[in-house]
Amino acid sequence: MININNVSKIFRQTKVLDGINLDINKGDRIALVGSNGSGKTTLIRCLLGEYIHEGEILVNKLQPRQHREEVLKQISFVPQLPPPLRMPVGQLIHFSAEVCHSDPEKIYTVSESLGLDARKFKSQAFVKLSGGQKQKLLISIALGRDSKLLIMDEPAANLDPEARHSFFNLLAQKQHDTAMLISSHRLDEVAALVNRVIELDQGKVILNDQVADQVDMESILDCEIQLTHAEPAFAKMIEEWGFISSSDGMMWQGNVAGPDRLRFLGAVSRYSGILNGINMKEKS
């Protein structure tokens, strides 16, 4: 579906991408990982036809720069940082739907499933929304249209656990007929969503591997945590995951989305000194 052949990009004598060769196929869910400055964003911008570069990129045999409209009709994109658009939410949705030949109603429906009532904010400037609301809206615009490639730059970073679960469900619906490229500087943020990992370092691919694809993206885990003693910092963190405590603050119960398990355990592991027991069980 996508062929990246010997792509290099130089900014002021600095080689940001150095001879990248990759093939991306339908059904691939790729974690594009690497530290800051490794070339992830540059590679994404080359794929979107926003940067000129050496080498060749073909999306279904079309070059993104020369055939912008045909190629970009097939690609949905969620940026890492929401753009500071002053246009009202309603107009942004209408604008995106018009240029992408999609239905604004689908965008509203997706935003509702992510917990954002976009209709309520129709006349509010996009830039005035909170970070999480902006992210939900951009995801809604990307998922509310038909595309063959979904490119997302740290898409779930600003989402609350409930919205993350809805987001994973939406991705699950698209996983068989859409390729996904999810960029992150931390693998644990996206590990459970993907079946392939590509790591960039100083503009080169240093890892390109398939990974076990056993996590059901729609699954939910029942989770119970027991502590040796109550701890306010732990309580603050775990409440953000939507957990509820016993009256003495020693026992916590809640749900974790299946693909979020690694991230959840990472968060809990910071309090390993006060953990007395963890029980996680997939809901049938």
Binding site: R45, Y51, I52, R86, M87, F95, S96, V99, L138
Partner: protein
Amino acid sequence: MSKHLLLTALADINESLRSRWFIIYTLIFGGIVVALFITGLTESRIMGFTGLSRTLVTYLQITMAILPIFVLLTTVRSVAGDREAGIFEYLLSLPIGLASWYWGKILGRFAVVFLPVFLAMMLAVVWGALKGAEIPWGQVIIYTAMLLVLAWCFLGMGMLISSLARSSDVAQGAAFLTWLVLLLFLDLILLGIMISNGSSSETVVLIALVNPMQVFRTGAMMLFDPQLVLLGPSAWVILDTFGRTGFLIWSLVYPAALGTFCAWLGFVVFKRGDLP
């Protein structure tokens, strides 16, 4: 393409209407007209002009000083600023052709920079009519056309600078420098000195003819002062060489052509380089 162009233009208009610069811009031009009313210019009769004519010519002379720098700075600030802030990265990931995007943006900005100036002038006309002054419709129409091409000319320059400069700081510096150079080559400042130093009249006329601010200034004054006694020595040479009608045509065609050329060149640079 035309649908995407209009959508981009509307999006840009919406962005501009909600920005602080637009409010300041509108207040300045509206304020100028109101200030002219308050100072009683509509009532005065000097050198045979009607009061409204005097208001209009004063308004145009002030506009000539403010409009170019305002259009240049706000255009480069918002275009280069949008690029830096990531707005280009996101909006250009949508399936819009680069031509629709670029020309749509120009169209939107043109509406936003021209309308307040035009409406302020219309306010002066309406005010004059209410006061019982005779409306010089011929002059009003030519002045409107002159304002239109002046705004277009500097918008084109602003877009070219935005395409060439990679940061909003550089773009703003280049815009200011462009305005300053054009200001220094205005008739009364430099051309008079050149003539007194013995420069050839051809050089003087050429400089006066290629400076869009000077062209606008001379054209605007020509309607009120056919002998151009209020302007400097180059104006007389221009009048002798071009004639009144010839220069009025030049003052409409040249800025429009220059603006279009700059905008086109900006587009060529824009579509050949990195977009965000």
